[in-house]
Amino acid sequence: MIHVLVIGAGAMGSTHAAAYADMPNAYLAGIVDTDAGKGARVAEACGTSSFTSYAKAMEALDRVDVVDVCLPTPLHKKHVLQAADDGKHVICEKPLARSLADAREMIDHCRSRGVRLFVGHVLRFFHEYAHAKRLLDDGVIGNPAVIRAGRGGGYPIGWQHWYSDFGASGGITLDAMIHDFDFLRWCFGEVERVYAKGLHGRVHAQLDYSLVTLRFQSGAIAHVEGTWSHEGFSMNLEIAGTQGIIGYDSARDQPLLSFQRGGHAGGGGGVPVPESPVEENPYFQELRHFLNCIEQDEEPIVTAEDAYEALRIALSALKSMETGRPVDLGAGAADLSSKGVIGS
């Protein structure tokens, strides 16, 4: 049994906590959130205790094996370093950090403290994406040539509006498209060049939209769309190869769509709500996999170095937007620090 402490009771923290609560080989030791009410609500739903700080939780709990960091991105580093110093294995939500230097420091620090570091690139655990990768690997569509991926919906509102602070979240490109960057790199190998255009720096409205082109060393070309300018979340993937095409669009292929006429008790009426029920959701599978890797001392499907590379692609896209030039990823130590409007 692995004892897990989740930090952050927001959108991701509550998802992770619920997954551990259901997991036979995990014990959800507690959940931490500076917002006591939020922490308590998740704790109640998941049958655990809540704390208002990491220190208080560590003081009160007899045993913690893993610290799972589900905080806004700029807070990842401090908590990952702290947990490693305390000798705890770490699971951290993506993006690992806001800068490559921070990401490197976190990876090195965990290594030097002898703890494992896993990063939540959960797209690799989404059934449809994992299935597409299997088909690709089985050669069903021949050699991949042009790939289109996309994700997004409305503008996310997180704790203290941290998503709309570009210096904190990196906007859609870093926060959400990094999922696709990681998945595509998993499927098609190393990226040679990145070119990107985006709304960041062009408009001050609360909208973000990015169109990124990746050129892989294999020659394959991928187009990735990220949007925080649309209504309703959706994601899509299409891989065209020499022998066929694999396509998926969550907006089109909907297994379950409910609609409640307005005015019902409980609210939430008036908009169609899509669901895609599976026995084990991707977050559950991801986190169980990470715990299994700890128990059995195995390499995960997605490593911290993979997370670093995905971050490098995302930051290269931001750099390309800023300079209007393609960014060569082979070119080593390119300066990928990006000037945020709000500061980084």
Partner: protein, 327 residues
């Protein structure tokens, strides 16, 4: 009104010919084709005369001519029409290079004949409706666009750069580049492109993703790849996603379709919307009838769209963004 057709090298010739036949007051006066067998065949099917010499066809008292020869031959045929004082509807891309396109535009202007570039997507109902909504301000200010115009590798002269000027990039960039210019009223400032020969055995560009910057700050991408395979349920697509300050608009120009599953052909889309080729040809004929000197979609529109494709090729060579003005 007598209209002729120069060459059935491009398959659109047949669809334009059928439109001409349907139009009241229009006579399909003849077909010229350097390939006599092909020309005779279509003259027979369409109930018109075959000419082995385009000068002879042009001297039959024509009001207009449709040029559907190979891209590299457009210039010769358009200049001959201008010389004969015959209005021209020229298949896209207008030419394989900007210099020839400029010569064609100049010659038609000097001769006082209309030069219309065949951009049928401008006559697609969903696209027209989108333009209306944009003009009514429904999207606010346009911020970004994402387009696709994908298809199958057509083979034949399309994959012979001497006749086509290039592959997927020159073939499939121009339609949507034209629509983007039309929607925004802006000109292309810079093009960056990743291009490749990733699917076909013959050496030709068959995949391309263009990134486009407009002079009003709008950005866009365009996928012009020949990435549809024979089992894909239709020939390809024209789609456009538009993000504006006040809303978004999603266009699937061929979304008006039935899903047909037959034992013989498998799963196919059957388009049931209005025929855009008919709309295109009707507009050309109407402009002639009205005695206009300028078409609704001009040779310059054809050149501007071509420049986007040419800038894309240059960009892929240089690995930098390229301004069409530099070409």
């Amino acid at each position: 009104m007598k209209i002729g057709i120069v060459s059935f090298a491009h398959m659109h010739a047949y669809s334009y010919a059928k439109a001409l036949i349907q139009l009241e007051g229009v006579e399909l006066a003849g077909i010229y084709d350097p390939d006599e067998q092909r020309g005779q065949k279509f003259a027979g099917i369409l109930g018109t005369s075959y000419y082995g010499d385009y000068a002879e066809l042009l001297s039959q008292g024509l009001s207009g001519i449709v040029v559907t020869s190979e891209n590299a031959n457009h210039k010769e045929h358009v200049l001959a029409a201008a010389k004969a004082g015959v209005h021209v509807l020229c298949e896209k891309p207008i030419s394989t290079n900007a210099a020839d396109a400029r010569d064609m535009i100049e010659a038609c202007k000097a001769a006082g004949v209309m030069l219309q570039t065949a951009f049928p997507v401008r006559y697609n109902r969903s696209v027209i409706r989108a333009k209306q909504m944009i003009d009514e301000g429904k999207l606010g200010r346009i911020l970004a666009m994402k387009g696709t115009n994908r298809g199958q590798n057509p083979g034949g002269w399309f994959v012979d750069p001497a006749l086509s000027g290039g592959g997927a990039v020159i073939d499939h960039t121009v339609h949507v580049a034209d629509i983007m210019r039309w929607f925004t009223g802006a000109e292309v400032k810079e093009v960056y492109a990743e291009i490749g020969q990733l699917m076909s055995a013959v050496p030709i560009d068959d995949c391309g993703i263009l990134s486009i910057e407009f002079d009003n700050g709008v950005f866009a991408t365009l996928d012009c790849s020949w990435s549809r395979n024979p089992s894909f349920p239709t020939w390809g697509d024209v789609t456009l996603e538009i993000v504006g300050t006040a809303g978004t608009l999603t266009i699937d120009a061929f979304g008006q379709k039935l899903n047909v599953f037959s034992e013989e052909r498998g799963y196919r889309h059957h388009f049931w919307g209005d025929d855009m080729d008919f709309g295109l040809v009707r507009d050309f004929v109407a402009s002639i009838a009205e005695g206009r000197t300028e078409a609704n979609v001009t040779g310059v529109d054809g050149l501007k769209a071509l420049e986007v494709a040419l800038a894309a090729y240059r960009s892929a060579e240089r690995l930098t963004a390229v301004s069409p003005a530099e070409l």
